[in-house]
């Protein structure tokens, strides 16, 4: 073909075929020695014509690869873009609302009284408005940046910190996340991540409240969690660790939680694992038995959850900077691993290898399931590159997608079907806007946390005005499919001791979704809203659809306009109420028993 053209045309004694061989090796990702690289560079610099041809040859390679990729995975690109655009749009609207809210509130006497500045009204407004706008602009930047990595993430800072109150000041890590949130059918399984900045209107300085806080509901205090703490320090072991690391060996991570039969693997030995124990670099973990479970926490808050029947080895944290420094890595021999990976250095991604491939992660939430013959990767947040060892091919797997590395199988990323979505109020999952909702400890709630609207708010403004000015709400973000009818089940109750029927109603808003029965209370916007009424039917947690007992033979369902990230907001219309969960189900069509905490199929 072009052999005759390229042989020794430069006349410098370097054989043209030799240059082609080196270039072919270089562009195919092969390992050239420094001497070979230098030889190739010299040859290319000496012959501009040859260099252009080879660069163009490389572009033909790109064109061929691009044309092959176009036929395999191009369909998902527009969907991912639509999600990003929506996330950005939501962020902009959110900031606009904050601006509006701040602008409105700075003019109210109450707001002015709550600030230490005792300036005349007009001046106070200006002084408050400027920092508010600066804060809002910063917030927009942060949210847009975060949206680029899988959407706006809830923040532990979304919870007001009042040490004297039962409200939680730290993320709740101690209890095992409900299994429903870890299922492949539920994309909302996001174990705690590093704290994300998400300022709220209430983050404005408030050094001197002008009036006392309203009385708060009495909540049974729960023990302080052992791990993790708000700083980035590794968890402090609550009990003496069975295997104290030697000073010369580095601790890669800490065993945050252990249930059932779990053992630390070091070579051929297996010693029982205990919570709080350090895992040394190079060690592994085996979890067995029907109730086996372990959670591993790295110093940067990257968290791994290991299910029963799982064996992982060769666990390392990020190496100290240096020539051969590598990132977090481990080998997942078999079983199921769910990981919430904090942002890693760009040049040192976390690498999870399996017998069939490897996943390279910069920062995301994912699950890997290794079975004989295949490795399945599910990505809940961010984007992961999966490499298949059998042929060296890679697949980019975005949020809400999965891919299977197995010889001969289709290797394209596909949407994860979602049938069951259990939304639990956890600091990292729910965003609280305004002052209506608080996150509190409640041992009766699954996971020990609940959303609470206290007594003081009593009957709240309702109706169309609330829909137009939704200034205060609790917001969940999760993944769901388009065109699927999800029954809406709310687990809650009215916590009032008298006049219960007057104070027992909340509203739900599905952003980009429609309910099968609209809430006329909200006027034109009704299709996106539903009422959940008669929470007074329960004095402890029970399931409710639109009313309890439901007045319709079929429950209210919600249907989303597009597959991907969705937002559901809870508005307090009548209080006091307490909510422990919202369950969206494509299968549960009848009222679940009060003692059932979520999707049955998800239980292990």
């Amino acid at each position: 073909m072009c052999r005759a053209e390229t042989v020794d045309r430069r006349g410098d004694g370097v054989n043209g075929d030799r240059v082609l061989e080196l270039w072919a090796e270089f562009t195919a990702g092969g390992n050239l020695t420094p001497a070979e690289k230098s030889e190739l560079l010299g040859a290319l610099q000496a012959d501009e014509n040859l260099r252009r041809k080879l660069m163009r040859n490389d572009e033909i390679d790109a064109l061929l690869q691009g044309s092959a990729r176009k036929e395999s995975d191009g369909a998902s690109f527009p969907e991912v873009f639509a999600q990003r655009l929506a996330a950005q749009h939501d962020a902009t609207r959110f900031v606009d609302k904050i601006r509006t809210r701040l602008g409105e509130e700075t003019l109210t006497p109450r707001r002015l009284a709550r600030h230490a500045w005792r300036a005349p009204r007009g001046e106070a407004s200006r002084r408050l408005l400027l920092p508010a706008l600066v804060a809002a602009s910063l917030l927009l930047t942060i949210i847009v940046t975060m949206a680029g990595h899988g959407g706006v993430k809830p923040s532990p800072q979304g919870i007001e910190r009042r040490p004297e109150s039962p409200e939680i000041a730290h993320p709740e890590p101690a209890s095992r996340p409900p299994v429903a949130e870890q299922s492949s059918k539920s994309r909302d399984s996001r174990p705690p991540k590093a704290a994300d900045p998400a300022p709220r209107p209430s983050d404005q300085p408030d050094p001197k409240p002008a009036r006392p806080e309203p009385p708060r509901p009495e909540v049974i205090p729960t023990p302080e969690p052992a791990t993790p703490r708000e700083d980035n320090a590794p968890a402090k072991p609550p009990a003496p660790a069975p295997a104290v690391p030697r000073k010369t060996e580095s601790v890669a991570a800490t065993l945050e939680q252990v249930e059932g039969d779990a053992g630390v693997l070091a070579g051929a030995s297996r010693t029982p694992a205990k919570a709080g124990q350090g895992l040394l670099a190079g060690q592994g973990l085996g979890v067995a038995g029907p109730k086996g479970f372990a959670a591993v926490l790295f110093p940067d808050k990257t968290r791994l959850e290991i299910d029963a029947g799982t064996e992982l080895t060769d666990l390392f944290d990020v190496d100290a900077p240096g020539k051969d420094a590598r990132g977090k890595r481990l080998f997942l021999k078999r079983g199921t691993l769910t990981a919430a990976v904090a942002r890693q250095p760009a040049d040192r991604p976390m690498v999870v290898r399996t017998p069939h491939g490897e996943a390279r992660v910069v920062g995301t939430t994912l699950r890997l399931v290794v079975e004989p013959g295949s490795t399945r990767l599910e990505v809940m947040e961010g984007r992961v590159q999966l490499k298949r060892f059998s042929d060296g091919k890679t697949a980019d797997v975005p949020a809400g997608h999965f891919a299977v590395a197995a010889t001969g199988a289709d290797f394209a990323a596909k949407f994860i079907p979602v049938d069951e979505i259990l939304l639990l109020p956890r600091p990292e999952k729910v965003k609280l806007i305004g002052e209506d909702w608080k996150l509190i400890r409640d041992e009766k709630a699954p996971g020990g946390l609940a959303l609470d609207v206290p007594w003081s708010l009593k009957r709240l403004p309702r109706g169309a005005d609330k829909a137009r000015h939704p200034g205060s709400f609790a917001s969940f973000t999760f993944q769901a499919d388009a065109g699927k009818d999800y029954s809406v089940w709310v687990r809650g109750y009215c916590s009032a001791s008298k006049d219960r029927l007057t104070y027992d109603c909340i509203g739900l808003e599905a952003v980009n979704g429609e309910f099968s029965r609209s809430a006329s209370l909200f006027g034109a916007a009704g299709k996106s809203f539903m009422l959940v009424d008669n929470l007074a039917a329960y004095d402890t947690y029970g399931w409710i659809n639109d009313q309890h007992p439901t007045t319709s033979p079929s429950p209210v369902t919600v249907r989303f306009a597009r597959t991907g990230t969705q937002t559901l907001r809870l508005y307090a219309l009548e209080a006091p109420v307490r909510i422990a969960a919202v369950w969206l189900s494509a299968t549960q069509r009848s009222l679940p028993p009060a003692d059932q905490e979520g999707p049955k199929a998800e239980k292990k």
Binding site: C2, W23, A24, S38, A62, R69, A86, S390
Partner: protein, 196 residues
């Protein structure tokens, strides 16, 4: 007729997008993402980074869509935005590689920057169309190898085993096939022998 209808449809979506319709803009994304991604991948030889740059290209285009004037082609306008993104990335990559003293990689990045600065945005759809025609003209054994490697996803080591060759020989064979394709594509582009 079909082409005219497509243009009219695109023109309608552009106007709707300029009035703020996200839905209309997403339709434009569906029309042009292959071109933008193909163009970016030519210079950014990393699929993950290419996807990110393509997303950024369309987000940037959405923000600026009101400035687009229909006297030029939307695809060319989008490729212009993509080109700026690719140049920015390549310059950063060039700096990073030069800090690592990776002389060959730095030089290759530099040559890609020069190509991009010199040539401006080419039309990947036209190149792809020419490539498809050239693929049909390959000898059957070469066409089979291209299909096995690029479209069916077989690895070089697997192919080397089945062809009874060394891996380096397979790489050379593929390089020579690409060279033939390069000549054919350039010939067709220069003489206008490209059919859609």
């Amino acid at each position: 007729m079909a082409r005219t209808a497509e243009r009219m449809e695109e023109s309608l979506w552009v106007r709707q997008a300029q009035e703020g319709s996200e839905e209309a803009f997403c339709k434009l994304v569906r029309l042009h993402h292959d071109s933008v991604r193909g163009f970016l991948f030519r210079f950014v030889r990393n699929a993950s980074i290419m996807e990110d740059l393509a997303q950024e290209t369309f987000l940037s285009a959405f923000r600026r869509i009101r400035t687009f004037r229909e006297e030029s082609s939307l695809r060319v306008w989008l490729l212009g935005i993509a080109r700026l993104g690719a140049l920015k990335y390549l310059r950063e990559e060039h700096q990073r590689l030069s800090r690592q003293s990776a002389a060959l990689e730095t030089a290759v990045a530099d040559w890609r920057i020069q190509t991009l600065e010199r040539e401006g945005p080419s039309d990947p759809e036209r190149e792809l169309s020419a490539l498809r025609q050239c693929l049909k003209g390959l000898p059957p054994s070469s066409a089979h190898l291209v299909a096995e490697y690029y479209y069916k996803g077989h690895s070089l080591s697997d192919l080397a085993r089945s062809y009874g060759k060394r891996g380096s020989a397979m790489k050379m064979t593929l390089l020579r096939i690409r060279e033939a394709l390069r000549e054919c594509v350039e010939q067709r582009l220069s003489t206008g022998e490209v059919t859609a």
